[in-house]
Structures are given as C-alpha cells and as structure tokens.
Symmetry: C2
Subunit: 693 residues, 2 copies
C-alpha cells in the first residue's frame, strides 16, 4: 500500500517511506546515474558476495569455521550477518520501485525464507547466538550486536512489506520485536540494558509509524533514556553490571576501548541528555541521535521534544564545527572508528589518523534529514549535500563494484588511496546502496498541512520529479531538471491543479557566492538558507529557474585544526590531486606547497576508463616543495627552498615531467572530484588539502 | 675510593663516576645555583616525602592500604618504591661531595638499613612481592618493576660505595645480583625473560665497571639480546608465554597498551637490532638504548659495537629529527607516556597530546652522554644542552620544592601550566636530583690516553673546574667561568704541569650564528661541532676565551609536524609566554598570531618572588587573533580578521590591558625562559610556539 503524504509537519515521515509518498523518481541526472550503478551492478554483486562468503551455508547450519575461505579472525564478524542481509534486502526493495529485477526478487525471497527458518520458537533471531554461543543471548549487549541486527531486520521488514505488500518478513520480525519488548525494560524481571551499537531505536520508531503499537515507541524510548545511567542495575552502570555477570576481569577490555570502561565509545558514558560533545564511534553516534530525534518527533510530546532538540542541536554543532572534515567525513581515530578531541582532524594515517567511515557519513545524512524536520535550515541540508557528494558517493567506485570503508583526505605509504572488493566488516557497501535507493526521501520534503495546503522544501538539486495526489488526482506535480553538481542551473516545472496552495522553499547553498531566480521575484524572502517561492507567485509561474554560480573556490579547515592547508572545492564537491593526473608525485603530495595565487581553470572531461563525466580543475602557478632534507635539530628554522626566478620560456613545463629535485617548481596541478578518486589505475597517491606557503 | 681517569677512550667511564675522577666542582654559575637548590632544598624535602608517604612504615611491614593517606589507587604505585628510595640515595650521595649534610647521611643510613632488613634469605629484595603478592616473584616481568627497581638499587649501591667507601649497601645488592644472575639467562632452568622497564642493563654495566665480574656484563647482554625475541620460550614471545602462565585472558591488557600485545610499549615488539624507529614508552626507550651503548662500549667487542652503534645512530636520528619537541621533550602520547608517529608533535593536550616527561629528557641526556663516547659530535651535545636547559631544569621549580611530570609546550583548560608538590608515580623529582648531582660527569669528558696524553671535550659551558692528577700532582687543571646561558662569554684557565700533552675541544653550538676565540687561533680546526685547541697552542695560552653571540632567534618545528608556529629561543633556552606577564590572555594564547616582523628586545630581570635572575624578551609588533567565531561549516574559508590601521598614537597600549575583542591587536608580548614557567602565581596559561600569520 503506497501512502499519500498526509502527515502533519509535526508527525515524522521517514525518508525511506516518504519517497514512496511523494512518488519521487529520478531521470537522467548525476545522482540518477549513481543510483543506476547501484541497481544494475552493486545489488546483484552484493548478493553474489553473500553467497560466496558463506552466509547461505551458515543459515543452513552447514557453516564451519574455515579461515581460508572466511578469514573472519578474532572479531567474529558473523556478529553482524543479520545486518548485512537486512540492509541488502532493504536496498534491493528500494531498487525495485525503479528497476524490476527478478534475480533480486528471488534473492530477497530466499533470504527471507532463510531468516524465517532460523527463528527460534519464542521469536529470537540471531545467527551468532544460535550457532556459536547458544544459550548466551543478551549477555553482552555492550559488545555483541543482537539489538543492532534486530534494528536492521526491522527496517528490512518495513521495506519488504512496503514493496511486496505482504508480511512474509514483517510477521516473524514482529514476533521478534514482541520478544524484545517483553525482555527489555524497567519492569521487574526485565533487562535494564540497551544496545552497544544503537540502530534499533530509529528502527522501532519507523516500525511505530507503521504499526502505531505504543510498545514499539516505548521500547525505543527506554533504550534512549536508560542509556548511560550510572546506576542502572544494582547501583551500577549496566555495562559494568553485565561485565561482572559474565565474569569479566578488571583488565579485560575490547580492542576498541582505549581505556577501561571507555563507554563513550558507545555514547553511554553519561545519560544522553547530559552529553555536551559528540564522542566515540561515529556511526553509533549518528544512529543514536537519529533515534533520539525520531522518538521526540514521533511522540510529538513537547516534554521530550524540547530537551531532545537541545541535545541534538548542541551535539550537531560540536560535530560540524569541530569534528568534521572538509569532505563531510567524521571520525579521525582508527581505534574506535570515531571522534577525536575538538579540532583534531589530521588528513591521513601518517599524520595522526583520518577514519571518516562511509557509514558514518551515511549516518550524518540520516541525522541531517531528521534535523531538517526539527528546523528547516540550510545548515543541515548543506551538510547533507556535503556528505552525499563527497564521502558517501566517494565510498563506491563509478561502476558500483568496489568500495572504501574509510575516506582519508590524504594517502600515505601505509594507507594508499584505493578501493576494495569487500570488507570483513561489510557495513559500508550495503549502507551506500540503501541510502541511494531511498534518496528520493532526502532530496526534498513535502509537508502536507491539509489536503489543500502543501509546503515543499527542496534540499538537493537533481533531475527528478514528485507528485502529490488527492484521491486519484495529481494536484501537485513538481519537476526539477539539472546537471548539478557540474552546472548550477536548475529548471523547475510545478503544475498545480485545483485549489491546492503550494509554497516552495529552495535551498540557497552556503558555499554559493550568489544566486538568481528567473522570472524575477518581486520580493526576496529568505529564511535560514531557504528562498521562499510563495503560492501566489507559483500560481503565475509554473516554470522557473534557479541559477547558482559554480566555480572553483579555495577552502581551508579551521585554524585550530593545525591543518595549514588549502583545498579546492566547486559547488558541493571537494577536489583532490591524484598521482594518475600528476605522475611526478612520490610522497603523496605531502611536501607540495600550494600557490594561492595560482590560476584555476576548469575543463569538462570524460574519463576513458570509467566513462565518468566530470569537471576537472587545473591550477597553474609556482608549486614548490617543503625542504625535507634530513639532519635538522628540533629547534632549527626550516627555511623554504628559495626558488630562483627562471627565465621566461614560452613552452610550459609539462605537468607529467618527473619531479627530480624540489628546487624545480611544478607549474600545473590537476584536480579531480574527491568522490572520483581511486577509480583509475595509479600508485594510490592522493591529497585533498595542500600545504599553504 | 676516588679514581683518576685512566680509562682509554674506548673503555666507558660513566658520568656518575667520571665527575669524581675529574674532581669536577661547580662555583657560581647558573647550573651551580640549580644544583644548590637540589642539595639544600630538594633532597631534604624528598626525604621528608618518603616518610610522609609511608615508605618507612611499609618497609617496617606496618604498612596498610589507606587510600586517604596514600591514595595509590589501582596502579599499585608501591611497585616502584625501591626505585624511589634508590634514586634518592644515589642523588644524596652525589650531593655530599659538594655539601655535607648530616640529615641526608642519617637518611641514607636509615634507608640502607631498611633495605637490608627486607632482603630475603636468598638475596631477593622487592617490597611489592614481599608484602602484596608473596610467592609471585618474577611472574610478570612485562608489567611489574622488579628488575627496574633492581637496576636503581645497583646504581644506588655504586654511589653509596663510592662516597662512603663501605659495602653496607653494595654487599646486599651484590647478593641480589647473584640471585638475578642465577635466575635469568638462556640456560636450562633459567628464566628467558627481560624487564618490561629497562634500567638494569645500564646499571649492570656500571656495576661491571666496578666489579669486573663477567656475570654482570653477561646478564646485561642477555637482557638486551633476548629482548623482542618472537620465539623466546616454547616458540613464543616471552611476554606471551608469561601471560599464558599467569592465566591472562585474550582481552586482558594493561591500561597503557593501546592494543593487545602492544610490546612496542616496552621496545620488545622485535629484537633491538631489527628496530628502525623509536617507539613506545619514552623513558624505557632511553634507558634501554643507554644500556645498549654501555654493553657495546664496556665489552669493547667490535662484533657488538658495530651493530649496536647502527641501532643507536638510527634510533637517535629518528627521535631527534622526527619525534622531539623544540624544547628537547620527547613523547607526545599520554596513554603510553611515549612516542607517537613521526612528526606527530602537538603542543598541548587539547591539540592531541604532549607528554614530554621530565624523566624522558633525563634519559635523553644519559643517552646523549653515551653517544658522545661513540662519536664526539655536537649533534649529541646540542641535544644534551637543549634537554638540560629546557625540559629537565623546567621539571623543577626555582626553589627545588615543586615539580612537573609532563612538560607540555602549551597549556589548556584541562591541563594548566602548573607545578605539583609530588606525584603518585614519583620518578621525575628524584631523577632531576640525581642528574644534577652527577652533572660534573656530563659537562665535559676527559679522555686520558696515557698519563701524559689527555683530550678534554667541553660539552656544556658553566663556571666549573676539573683537575687531573698523576699521583698527588695536579698535572692538568682546567677552569671555565661563564654566565651561561645569559651571556655567551666563557673564560678558560688551563694549567698544565709537567709533560702532559692536552688537547681541548670546545663545543660550538649549532644554534650559534658564529663564535670567536681569543687570543686568535692561527688556524681553525673544527670537527663535527667542536673546535680543537691543540696542545701546542694551549701550552702558550693558559688563558683564553670563547665568545658566542647570545641573541633571540625565531625557531619553528618541521613543517610535517603541522605545527604552523614560531617560537623564540635564545642560546640554549626556548622561551614561552605566560599569563602573569601577559594577563589579557584568556585562551592559553591559542588564537594569538605572532607577528614575525615584531621587534625583539631583551631585558635582564630579577623576579621578585623567586629571586630568579634571567633574561626576559619582549616582542613589539601587531599581534592579532584568529577569528574564533562559531557557526562555520567545515569547508568555509576562515578569514583572518582584517585589522584597520590605527592612528598613530604616542602612548603605547599597555600590555596588561584586557583583550576585549580580537579586533584590537596586542602590541607587546613578554617571554620568559620555558624552564622558568609556572614559578609565579597566575592562571596557568602558557605557550611556546605561537601561530604564524
């Protein structure tokens, strides 16, 4: 059953469902091509990987530990297997709206059968505790991933039910959720625990949106409010109590805990309402906060909404202003895949770390979409765009068959810029697929205040269309057509039928030096990064156009990051240099000094290998190198190399000439979009931020 | 028994013994005053602390755990108690050469009795395993400190025997060493282990110097060569095997291990000869390498010396060029009190860490002194001077009664610039005391090639004298007189009696812009940072003078550190700004931008509170501030504040005026030597490196 968008502005509609409500379709734009790669290549490939890596055998209980075939090592990666399967089912369901594919339909059916066959009598459903540690379910909420998996299973069930309109997956999952609702909570005999890896909170809110069963919202709320309680059970933090029950010793701690009881890893170091900085594992933090936003917005209870919004706003602010990379990446620390201290944002492993996990940026987008419901402000959609166009799209190769897990801003000998076919912990590839599959719910929000009053916020520009119906009549039909992010012109066509009053709000990106709308508006009303096109004006102008100048600009991180670098950006895209365009490089561009007086020119390109169309940028100037001569004591002044003025020569030094000595300045640097990196053969040298003089 | 320096250049004389051999005395210079503070104030105070903190009760077995009186917490700080006592005895013995003190003599006697009374029948001597974990001796070499303590006991015994000329301490310690020699080694039934915290290696070499007992050198060599063996016992790394024997679990690991089996903490991740970068706990690394140098030099065996020198040279190079702060501090990582990756040298905790433990710089000096025996090169003595004048002297207050443990280059709200009366882990205060006590062995080296042929290398300048006798006749008497580091003039008087041929080598500091010697030398012969004054010239010029210009200069760390800062140095001293001279500061000088065109002037000062005489530096210019306004997205250009040219005004803005807005540039900055920081009342705001424009 597809639904029309009749929710009030207060009531939450999740983007994974909203794109169906708005009947959003993509046509021929940049994002459409990325979605197409996912639908055509990624999803069949991922199904193939699930088979190859033994998931099917495992659920048939024919699985045996075979390190050669499944090199899972210490960390027991089958912990997450339900989540991999669930995210794939979810992504595959989204893809079917746009592109029918019998192979995917069969794969979904097979996986659903497999999950059903593995459900216990009482509804429990988790492979690890069925196969590897039977009898130990729910004894290690801190480290194991039962509730995280359950969350993804819920989301898969929703996607499955919404597309197939049957309950083949929803029914067993509801039974599992019943078990969870009975097991966890504050009552006598219930477990007063909460997941080490949040996800189920937002999933339960999405489920509640469908079921209206108050138990579902209540369980999400319990997980959120109990989290970080210093005296949850017997006067102890739940994770302390739980560890004691397991007989864990004083100096036992998980690999990712830098110190004992480092519960900030799970955002459980203190109650959520008392947290003032964003800490720990970045993906967990994003999912958790998305869940917090959901509980507040779903309940519509002001007593919840107020304090939750305070937490969300201050943690978002801390993250975006002090803990986010130029690319939208978050998390600089490898050990806990998460946030470092304020302003600690090195570009690469050899400079102190740069994690910027793909999933974490997917999480930022999930959270930004929630924040936009709390306050329609460009500060959220700007970040959503930043993450999508750089870290998330950069997490997948152009053909959709290779992936990155971390998205460092510079390579090093120990961490080349490269893509992998798969990962032991395979969260990211599926996450990109399901985000792109549901992207129609993110690019715009339609608030239907009444059947005759609609506001549409347009967050991202792309060739796409939506419509909104009353009964069988399409009363609003909106199309945008654009070659974004390469060109800044967006053509709109808005057809309104009948008595509907429609206001449209166009995002005016904070990176833009200006913008114009044609035909001219009589008065300009902007609010927090959105330009209002009032119903009256729209009634007269069904066709209009937004023009945003797209030209290269120089950007720098905050000086407190101690990253004395400059990067090139153009529109939402951040750029980087790669060795395949600048083959003289031998040190990952680490000693290169950017000439801020360089002349930047852009060129439309079509890459021969990937067929990717993009705008390349060339910088022409005098690019010198830091002197890296050895033998200096710590306190000596490191002089930059003095460059003798060369005689004027007509013929420019070709950029491909080998750099033999740092004394010869390079005269041309070639930049490509960061998302496009590591798509062509090369040595794996790459850098976003180049040293300032 | 005081000895004359008759060793060959190859045979090692340790500085703690050498200062007696050269009869070095200090008169009225800067270092003499620091020594005086230690002898008059620090040592009696430290004896008092030992009493107050329950050491005496503990050795009387009247000790009970009392967290209020002895808040030692989890980490069982009594682990190190022998080392605290031993280092105090050692320092006290050195002090008695210069300044008789009955209180110290009584304290030494009492402690020696106490140690003797606690020795086991078989020679074993360790309080922790006597009192807290009886029966478990030598079961955790990795984490506990038995052998480290034993090393310090050996050094105390040597100092005690050399000063008191009795064996009250040496005898029981030799018995303990016999037990260790029997217990550890490669033979059947021996433990194939080595200390988690090196120290005993260099102590055993020093003992061998005295005893000539080959067992002592052999045990030191065994500890060094077995270290890091990946298959030491039953095909396993010794620490793995040992952990298994203790029943340690897979996820049990010490607090300071960032990851499992992080044996680089103890420099045991691979055999020493295979190590190419300096890693782990900084103090351990320094003691270990000093021990390695000692075994090579003491044995005089070329097969050892060659490979050991290769290791020492490359690890020293890695440390000094890539892992040392402007101040000579080493170790940026708090968790393991040690080295980070190459060029990771943040100035403060809030920028990613700065540990720079006082003991680690003491260790650098111990190692530098060894390196100078391997190759007389200014690159070692320059670093020795850097560490001494900044990090080591900075580790103690002017009155010798307060201390620092870490020596961060910038304060932050969470880690103010301040001194403490004591530390739970109290290694640093005693270490500064014993280093200053034996400083006469570091400032110069006398190589006596034969009774009639002597070379004297002068590494550090100070008012001090040495003499060298044959029989009862003083054949060489050398005095230097200087107000170093405040003035660069050093007057020498060298009296040579009889037929002795003496060459003197004067260090010409690498930071100096030049130097002159008067009377003029006919020809200048310099070699690796030393100026040779040949015997023939000296025979004619018993009085001569070295002039080194002392003026402020700007220094910067290597660009790869991403520390885009500039600091002021003058001679060997690095300077810092403190809030007590610049009281407008409210952010630890973090947002201040140094004006590299500023005019620097120096002023002789006498501080009212501490009576410290020093040269202060004032910089006059336009010092602006980074815009720290909030609300920026990651990719926005952070523009510096544009400063409107103010109208010329005769009256300068007083430097004490409160900074109300960053728009008003500060016009004067007052700098004091880094060692002098945190000696006066203030808010604890301090910084060495100031942001470049």
């Amino acid at each position: 059953m597809q639904r029309t968008p009749t929710e009030s502005a207060n009531k939450m509609t999740h983007p994974q469902t909203a794109f169906q409500g708005t009947h959003t379709t993509f046509s021929t734009g940049f994002l459409a091509k990325k979605r197409s790669a996912v639908f055509k290549n990624t999803l069949p490939y991922q199904l193939h990987v699930l088979r190859e890596r033994g998931y099917f055998e495992a659920y048939d209980h024919k699985w045996e530990f075979d390190p050669e075939r499944w090199p899972i090592g210490d960390a027991q990666y089958h912990l997450f297997w339900e989540s991999d399967i669930a995210k794939w089912i979810e992504a595959a369901c989204y893809s079917l709206y746009e592109r029918k594919n019998e192979e995917l339909v069969r794969g979904i059916a097979e996986l659903v059968d497999m999950l059903r066959a593995n459900q216990h009598e009482d509804g429990y459903l988790n492979l690890h505790y069925t196969l590897m540690e039977p009898g130990k379910r729910f004894t290690n909420l801190r480290d194991m991933h039962e509730l995280y998996n359950a969350g993804h299973l819920i989301e898969a069930a929703i996607a499955h039910k919404e597309y197939f309109r049957n309950s083949d997956l929803m029914k067993p999952i509801l039974k599992y959720v019943d078990l969870l609702c009975a097991t966890f909570g504050p009552a006598e005999g219930q477990i007063r625990g909460y997941p080490g890896h949040p996800e189920i909170e937002l999933a339960l809110c999405r489920l509640f949106e469908l079921t209206n069963n108050p138990k579902h919202l209540a369980l999400a709320r319990f997980f959120l409010t109990e989290r970080g309680n210093p005296a949850g059970v017997d006067g102890k933090h739940y994770y302390d109590w739980e560890a004691e029950q397991r007989g864990e010793r004083l100096f036992e701690r998980p690999t990712y805990f830098p110190t004992r009881r480092a519960y900030s890893y799970q955002q459980a170091h203190k109650p959520l309402l008392e947290q003032h900085t964003i800490e720990g594992h970045a993906v967990r933090a994003m999912y958790l906060l998305a869940g917090l936003a959901d509980v507040g917005q779903t309940s519509g209870n002001d007593d919840e909404i107020g304090p939750y919004c305070d937490v969300l706003t201050r943690l978002w602010k801390n993250m975006v202003e002090k803990k986010m990379y130029l690319t939208g990446g978050i998390g600089s620390v490898d050990q806990w895949e998460g946030f470092g201290i304020d302003y600690s944002l090195p570009q690469s492993s050899d400079e102190g770390g740069c994690y910027a996990e793909t999933c974490a940026s997917v999480g930022v987008i999930l959270l930004a979409e929630r924040m936009l419901h709390i306050a329609q402000s460009g500060k959220y959609s700007d970040v959503m765009e930043l993450c999508l166009y750089n870290t998330v799209l950069g997490g997948m190769s152009c053909d959709g068959l290779q992936f990155t897990y971390t998205n460092q801003l510079a390579s090093s000998d120990g961490a080349l810029s490269e893509r992998k076919k798969w990962f032991n912990c395979a969260c990211c590839p599926m996450n990109v697929a399901r985000l792109l599959g549901s992207l129609g719910g993110f690019i715009w929000h339609a608030y239907v205040h009444s059947p005759y009053e609609v506001s549409i916020y347009i967050h991202l520009y792309e060739s796409a269309s939506l419509f909104y119906s009353v009964g069988l009549m399409r009363v609003v039909q909106l199309e945008q057509e654009s070659n974004w992010p390469w060109e800044g012109k967006v053509k709109f066509n808005c057809k309104i039928t009948g008595k509907v009053s429609v206001d449209i709000y166009l995002r005016t990106p904070s990176w833009a030096t200006g913008w114009t709308v044609t035909p001219m508006l009589p008065t300009i009303v902007t609010d927090r990064g959105y330009l209002k096109l009032p119903a009256k004006w729209l009634a007269k102008h069904s066709e209009f156009c937004l023009h945003v100048p797209m030209q290269p600009r120089l950007v720098s991180p905050h000086p407190f990051t101690n990253q004395n670098v400059v990067a090139i950006a153009r529109g939402p895209l951040v750029y980087c240099v790669e060795d395949c365009d600048n083959p003289w490089v031998d040190d990952h561009f680490k000693s290169l000094i950017f000439d801020e007086a360089a002349c930047l020119t852009e060129t439309r390109k079509v890459d021969e290998v990937t067929k990717e169309e993009y705008v390349g940028i060339t910088a022409r100037g005098q690019f010198r190198f830091v002197e890296t001569e050895e033998g200096h004591l710590p306190g000596q002044e490191m002089a930059e190399v003095v460059v003798e003025e060369e005689e004027e020569e007509e013929e420019e030094r070709p950029a491909t000439k080998a750099r033999t000595t740092p004394e010869s300045p390079v005269k041309e640097l070639h930049f490509v979009p960061f998302y496009f990196r590591a798509n062509r053969p090369g040595k794996g040298h790459m850098r976003v931020g180049l040293r300032k003089a």
